[in-house]
């Protein structure tokens, strides 16, 4: 039994290592866009393979635990949640790569529009990622719920940004390329927020045993 408990701790540690790498990738991809930091972009690209490798390692380990230990109750929920969180984190890493690629493309020309909304969205998204991972570490259902409530704010900011960029393109078609890159960045940030929401939902499943996906009407 003690051996199994140690294995579960190892699974959590691996997942947190993955979470730290992904958080760092998101942070660097945002620096690439807002600070024109090409070096940060390079690090994001380099770390992607590492994130992918850890994803496979965690999946293998979790599946072995399911097969060999036949976990029940809280242990079962932890392993199932870890498998799902692992997938979400890997996708967040991919989205950080997308953002860094757009950031690099934006470096090729002069900035024609001051960047105000994207840093706001990025700040909120990073906060969601941090809270979702903290909620997992501390098994904090309240913190997980606060992530769910932040998702709408990100969606609203992204919609406002979209309308502004469409209007910008209509006024000056010469800058469509740049506006499309900015649209893609906001879209990728919003998707990172969605994955953070998924992680928060997995944490609620882990801690409370409830399924709140797809706005399920569940009394928390």
């Amino acid at each position: 039994m003690r051996h199994f408990v140690e294995d579960l701790e190892l699974l959590k540690t691996k997942l947190l290592e993955m979470g730290a790498l992904v958080e760092s990738a998101i942070q660097r991809s945002i620096s690439c866009v807002t600070q024109k930091d090409r070096g940060a972009a390079e690090q994001v690209f380099m770390n992607e393979a590492h994130i992918n490798a850890i994803e496979i390692e965690i999946d293998d380990f979790a599946i072995s635990l399911l097969a060999l230990q036949q976990p029940m109750a809280a242990d079962l929920r932890l392993i199932v949640a870890a498998l799902k969180i692992n997938t979400d984190l890997e996708r967040m890493g991919d989205l950080a790569v997308n953002i860094a690629q757009r950031g690099v493309s934006l470096m090729e020309g002069p900035v024609v529009k001051p960047m105000i909304d994207i840093p706001h969205i990025a700040g909120l998204v990073q906060s969601m990622v941090r809270k979702a991972l903290d909620a997992f570490v501390h098994r904090d259902a309240d913190l997980a719920r606060s992530v769910l409530s932040s998702d709408d704010a990100v969606d609203n900011m992204r919609t406002a940004c979209y309308h502004e960029l469409v209007s910008f393109m209509e006024q000056d078609p010469q800058h469509i390329q740049q506006a499309l890159a900015l649209l893609s960045i906001t879209r990728n940030l919003e998707r990172i927020a969605d994955h953070s929401t998924n992680i928060a939902e997995d944490v609620l499943f882990l801690v409370k045993g409830v399924d709140v996906r797809h706005h399920a009407e569940v009394q928390l």
Binding site: A73, A74, G209, V210, V218, Q219
Partner: protein
């Protein structure tokens, strides 16, 4: 009164105190749900001065498999043995409370009639020192449940088929039952119990002495039998309870700590004691 097991998994972990699974001792009249076959209310059981069961209240549902789990000495087998008054052969034993079978108290009926309706299979297979045929025919003979020799043969064949043993023994029905393997002997005991068409089958750790293949056959059999029989099984093997049972009750120190659908018990149990037991933290 204990809440009925949910037919669907509960949506959220409850925070019931362990005692909440049991009705208050000494009060409440038995109320049987329409789909329940057996209903125990405030059941206390004593071996002499030792109280082995404390205020157990539970509904056992018709054509469902109900499993009892818990550490050794928790009272699950004792409770199982109260359901057909098997404890009566134990000197100094005493029971308080009510158990209803189809709404009628099991204590108000003649015990052999009760055991015909509520059959039992034990941990260790215990075939009689007779032929395979006579083992199954025994209950039919002593109860006069056949019209002629052909009818007796038909009933024996039907029971052996229900116990998934017919194909393996049809050519050696007159050989000693002791020549069968452990798994076959256990299925023979199930066939013997089934011969008198019981409405409830009590299984007390039926697979504990069997290998995984024989265990899988008994589990398949349980799954098939539940369409015609209500099954109650005591098992130390939690994976077995998870595989075969619709509802599961967790016993500890003579109390029913939690009773719910098997999915809830093994995925999101309400009580910490249940959680600790099913995750192997104690027991």
């Amino acid at each position: 009164m204990m809440p009925a097991p949910t037919k669907q998994p509960s949506s959220e972990i409850k925070t019931a105190a362990p005692a909440a699974a049991n009705a208050p001792e000494g009060e409440g009249k038995p109320t049987m749900e329409s789909d329940a076959k057996l209903c125990a209310t405030n059941l206390n059981f004593f071996y002499g001065s030792f109280q082995a069961l404390h205020g157990i209240s539970m509904q056992i549902y018709t054509n469902k498999v109900t499993a009892f789990i818990g550490p050794s000495g928790c009272g699950k087998s004792t409770f199982l043995r109260t359901l057909n008054r098997m404890y009566e052969s134990v000197r100094g034993s005493r029971v308080e409370g009510t158990i209803l079978l189809d709404g009628q108290s099991i204590f108000d009926v003649e015990v052999s009639g009760l055991r015909r309706r509520v059959g039992m299979v034990f941990q260790r297979s215990n075939p009689f020192p007779k032929s395979i045929f006579e083992n199954v025919a025994y209950g039919l003979r002593i109860n006069g449940m056949y019209e002629d020799r052909a009818g007796l043969r038909d009933s024996v064949e039907r029971s052996l088929r229900r116990a998934a043993l017919w194909d393996e023994v049809k050519d050696k029905l007159n050989q000693s039952a002791y020549g069968l393997s452990g798994g076959q002997q256990q299925r023979l005991c199930i066939a013997r119990a089934l011969a008198v068409d019981p409405e409830v089958l009590l299984l007390d750790e039926p697979c504990s002495a069997l290998d995984p293949i024989a265990t899988a056959k008994i589990e398949d059999l349980i799954f098939q039998l539940k369409s015609s029989c209500t099954i109650v099984i005591v098992t130390h093997n939690m994976q077995q309870a998870a595989r075969v049972a619709d509802n599961t009750g967790f016993f500890l120190l003579g109390r029913l700590i939690e009773f719910d659908s098997t999915t809830v018990i093994f995925k999101t149990p309400a009580c910490k004691e249940t959680e600790d037991y099913v995750t192997g933290r104690f027991g």
